[in-house]
C-alpha cells in the first residue's frame, strides 16, 4: 500500500510537471493515447492479475464506450458527460450478460467468449450504418466541456485524461489493498481454498470483470471525444491482444507495471515506425517470451533486482 501510494504521488507530480518541458502537440497526442490505454490496462490488470481471467475483447468494450459517446452526442445530441455515463452503464450491463454464464467455467471460456464478443461488436459497428456510420464511422463528435473550459487543445485534453487516470489509479490501489483485493488475489491463487473461506468466487470475478469493462468504456468515451471521430478499425482483435500484451509486459500483478506496459507499447511503435509491419510478430513474441521467462513482467524483474540489491547490501553490512 505504502509503495503504491508513493508511486501514485510520483506519477501525479510527473503529470503536472511534464507540461513545463513538453511543448509539441505531437508529444501530447502520444501522452494522451498512453493515458487512454493506461486506463483500459488498469482495469484489465485487475482482471488478469487479481481475478486470474483473460479477456480478448477489451478493445470491444473500449469501442462500445467510444461508440456510445459518439452516437449519443452526434445523433441524439446528448450531453457528452451524460453520454459517457450511459455508455459506462451499458458496458457494465454487457459485461454482466457475458460474464454470468462464462465466469463460473474455466478461464478459457471467458477468453473465447470475449474474443467472440469483440468480433460481434466489430460487426455491429460496421453493419449498423444508420447508427454508427458503418466502416467510415462518425465525425464531429463534440468536445468535452467542464467548468467553463473546452477540452479542445491537446494540452487541455492531456490534463483531462491523466486526471481521469490518476483518479482511477488511486481507486484501483484502494481496491487492490482492501478486503476485496485480498479476496481477489486469493481467488487467482487458489479458487477452492478461497471459496472454502467464504469468498463468493464467481461474484467477485464477475464484479472485477464488470469493473474492468467499465474502465475500458470510460477510456473509449475519452478517445471518441479526443479524436472527435470514431470508426471500427481501432477496436479490433489485434488491439485486444495488444492490451493483454501491455498487461503481461508490465506484470499482471502490478498496477504501475501495467501502466509502464501501456507506455512502452504505445510509445515504441510511434518512435520506431519500422515496427509497424512487425507489430503482430512483436506482440506474439512478447506474450510468449514474457510468459516463458518472466511471468511477473517488468514489475517482477524490477522487484527481483531490488531484492537482489538489498540482499547484497545485507551481506556487505554483515561482513563489515
Amino acid at each position: 500500500m505504502k509503495r503504491d501510494a508513493v508511486i501514485w504521488a510520483a506519477l501525479t507530480l510527473l503529470v503536472f510537471t511534464l507540461p513545463a518541458f513538453v511543448h509539441s502537440p505531437y508529444y501530447y497526442s502520444v501522452l494522451i493515447i498512453i493515458g487512454i490505454f493506461g486506463i483500459v490496462v488498469l482495469g484489465l490488470t485487475m482482471l488478469i492479475g487479481y481475478a486470474g481471467q483473460i479477456s480478448l475483447g477489451h478493445a470491444g468494450f473500449f469501442g462500445f464506450g467510444a461508440y456510445f459517446s459518439a452516437v449519443l452526442t452526434t445523433r441524439f445530441h446528448l450531453d457528452p458527460w451524460l453520454a459517457m455515463l450511459v455508455g459506462l452503464v451499458a458496458t457494465i450491463v454487457l459485461a454482466f450478460l457475458l460474464g454470468i454464464p462464462t465466469l463460473k467455467l474455466h478461464g478459457h471460456y471467458l477468453a473465447m467468449a470475449t474474443l467472440g464478443l469483440g468480433m460481434v461488436l466489430q460487426i455491429i459497428f460496421k453493419e449498423e450504418v444508420e447508427l454508427t456510420g458503418g466502416p467510415t464511422g462518425l465525425t464531429d463528435v463534440p468536445h468535452l466541456k467542464a467548468f467553463g473550459m473546452v477540452f479542445a487543445s491537446d494540452q487541455k485534453f492531456y490534463f483531462l485524461v491523466w486526471i481521469f487516470l490518476l483518479v482511477l489509479y488511486g481507486l484501483s490501489i484502494n481496491l487492490v489493498h482492501s478486503r476485496l483485493g485480498r479476496a481477489l488475489r486469493a481467488i487467482s491463487s487458489n479458487q477452492t481454498a478461497a471459496g472454502s473461506l467464504g469468498i463468493p468466487v464467481n461474484r467477485l470475478k464477475l464484479l472485477i470483470f464488470a469493473v474492468s469493462a467499465g474502465y475500458a468504456s470510460l477510456a473509449g468515451s475519452l478517445y471518441a471525444h479526443y479524436l472527435s471521430f470514431v470508426n471500427p478499425s481501432p477496436f479490433g482483435f489485434l488491439v485486444s491482444v495488444k492490451l493483454v500484451a501491455m498487461v503481461v509486459i508490465g506484470g499482471s500483478q502490478s498496477l504501475w507495471g501495467a501502466l509502464l506496459g501501456a507506455g512502452l507499447l504505445t510509445a515504441l511503435p510511434e518512435f520506431l515506425a519500422v515496427l509497424q509491419d512487425y507489430e503482430m510478430l512483436v506482440y506474439g513474441a512478447i506474450l510468449i517470451v514474457m510468459m516463458m521467462f518472466a511471468p511477473q513482467g517488468l514489475a517482477g524483474i524490477l522487484a527481483g533486482l531490488h531484492e537482489w540489491v538489498k540482499n547484497r547490501d545485507h551481506k556487505k553490512n554483515a561482513q563489515a
Binding site: 481496491l175 482492501s178 491463487s189 472454502s196 467464504g198 469468498i199 468466487v201
Partner: protein, 258 residues
Amino acid sequence: MLKLENIRKSFGGLKALDGVSFEVNPGEILGLIGPNGAGKTTLFNVVSGIFPSDSGSVFFQRKNITRLPTHQIARLGIFRTFQNPSIFEAMSVLENLMVGNHLQGRAGFFSAIFKPPWERKEEQRMREQAQAVLKGIGLSDSADAAAGSLPFGKLRMLELGRALCAEPHLLMLDEPAAGLNQRETEDLTNFIAGLRAKKITIVVIEHDMSLVMGLSDRVAVLDQGRKIAEGAPQAVQHNPAVLKAYLGEEDWIKSLRR
C-alpha cells in the same frame, strides 16, 4: 451439530462414497480414519460443498446444507484445511490470515475504493485479529514473508491458522500431520487439543494413529466408501471389521493395536 444421511458420490464408475451416515456432536473431536481411497477426503469435499453429493443430505445445526455453494457453507461457520496445504503463495503470511478473516469484514466494492473511515477501522481490526492468531501459531516473525517461502511444517500451521481466523464452529482438518516430523506433530497435537477449550467442534482425518487416538472423543472408520465402525477410540481399535479393512496394511494394524 453436523449430520450426514446416506451420502453417495461416485466418479465415473468408482463409488467414492456409498451411503455414508454419521453425526458429529457439538464440542467433540471426531477422528475419521480408514485406508487410502476410503472416501475420507471426498466426504470433506461434499460437506464443504466443493462438489455436491449424488444423493443423501448434509445437515448443519438442523439446516439442510446439501446443495449450498462452498462460500455459503463457510458463512455458516464450517471451515477446513486441505491435504496439500492450499495457502495463497504469492501473498504474505499475514495477508493469508486476513483472507481467513474475510467473513469478519463487511467492506464491499464502494467502501473498498473510497475508503471511508469505518473501512479503515475495519481493516485495522482485521489486521489485529490476524496478528493475534499469527502469534498463536508461532509465526509472528514471518508476518511479511511470502507465504510460499515457508517450510512445509509452517505451511500446515499457517493453513490451520487461516481457518481459525474465520472463527469456525466446525473445523475439518484433512491430514494435518502429514509430512510433519515427530516434534511438529506433537506441537500440532497440543495445539489442536487447545482448541477444545474454545468450544470448536473438530473432525480430523489423520493417518497418524497416535494423534487420532490421543485426541479424538470418538472415531469413525470408512472403508471403500462405507462407514464400517464408529465409537470410542479403544472400541474401534479392536473392531474386527476395522482390522479386516486394514488387512494387508501390517503397519496399520500395529499402529492400531498400539
